[in-house]
Amino acid sequence: MLENKLKSAFDAVQAEEELKANTKDFLHRQLYGGRRKTRAVPKRLAACFVTVFLCVSGYFAYFTPVAAVSIDINPSLELAVNRFDRVIDVTGYNADGQALAEELSLRHMNYEDAVNAVTENEMVAACLAAGETLEITVAGTSEERTAKMEHCLSQCAYVTEEQVHCAGHWDEVEHAHEAGLSLGKYRAYLAALEEEPDLTLEEAQDMTMRELRERTECDSTAEQEEHGNGQNQQKGHGNGMGHGKHHQEQ
């Protein structure tokens, strides 16, 4: 009977195992969170990791200071500057410095604009008018950067070349902070300490830059007078910083 032949003929047709497996795989992927999802997740995870990495590295690049600009007159404050020449932190090292830091919104400004904003401030102008000494000190992790910053700052409107110093070493910034002083004042304190070993950090904190420099100058002058003029005996500061008195020219 052909009916039986039809049955055996159709019996010979069977779904291939590959066809069944492909169908199951397709449905697994479409409906049950299968391979497609597991493939997609690592891609999404990788994209997330890259984004997070970029954000974190960008954050650290932006918020890592590579230079410090210390501005000292009576207000004493210090700007932390990042690799993009932006101010990322402002620290006041005495009451006036803290008041100035709070008054001026210097964060995220270009450091030159920030220094201009400080030197144009009424409190600073009043100090200069009263004959106080303004010093701007730069230190950084790279000599090239600090040299460039020193040059740029000396071009600022209310700043003369003599008022800008380059400390050169980042270590010195850390030492200053450990002493509770701004970089510029710390250097002035070290210079004064050569002449007046009893001078304490607390005393230095309360002194203006002019007062600190005058200590150095007075002692230096007195010593020179003691040894007599014309004997070619000059007092070395010993710390290699080469400080001088830098009065703002009125």
């Binding site: 009916e3 039809l6 010979a12 069977q14 779904a15 066809l19 199951k24 449905l27």
Partner: protein
């Protein structure tokens, strides 16, 4: 939506039947794969509460035939192969191949009723329900199909 295990069980149980229906209607592997995915995707998403295994089987047959017809009407269906190229057919030296080739060369309207009646064992009334045809029409199709098949196979009769 049905559980994955239930869907996999349906694939294992009905894959051969869906494969044969695909052969009756279609002639290439790509279209067959499309139908498999389509049918079992509908099964997985269907909320039909099957009363029995027969109910479930009839549902699968109806969905498969509809999917095949839709694909045949589709502009995007893959190219049609000649009988010699149809995958899954037994080797030429086997008698089964001769019988299958005879069925596949019948006009489409006879192929499905021949398969459902002579292989799956459905009576004309059931085939009418599955295909949405009048039972008398199914009887007519079966009768004409049987005669055509007899001619193609050299006068051998197909039992009723």
């Amino acid at each position: 939506m049905r559980e994955e295990q239930e869907v996999n069980r349906a694939i294992d149980r009905y894959a051969d039947m869906v494969r044969r229906l695909c052969m009756v209607y279609l002639k290439n592997k790509e279209d067959t794969e499309d139908i498999f995915q389509n049918v079992f995707l509908k099964y997985a998403l269907s909320s039909v509460d099957f009363q029995s295994a027969e109910h479930e089987k009839a549902w699968i047959i109806r969905v498969t035939i509809n999917a095949c017809r839709d694909l045949l009407r589709s502009f995007f269906r893959s190219r049609t192969l000649s009988i010699e190229e149809v995958p899954g057919l037994p080797a030429p030296e086997h008698e089964e191949r001769t019988v299958l080739e005879a069925v596949l060369t019948l006009p489409e309207k006879y192929r499905s009723v021949i398969y459902l009646h002579y292989y799956e064992g459905y009576p004309a009334a059931e085939i009418g329900k599955i295909l949405g045809k009048n039972p008398n029409t199914v009887y007519t199709l079966l009768d004409r199909g049987r005669k055509l098949l007899k001619e193609k196979l050299g006068g051998e009769d197909v039992g009723k």
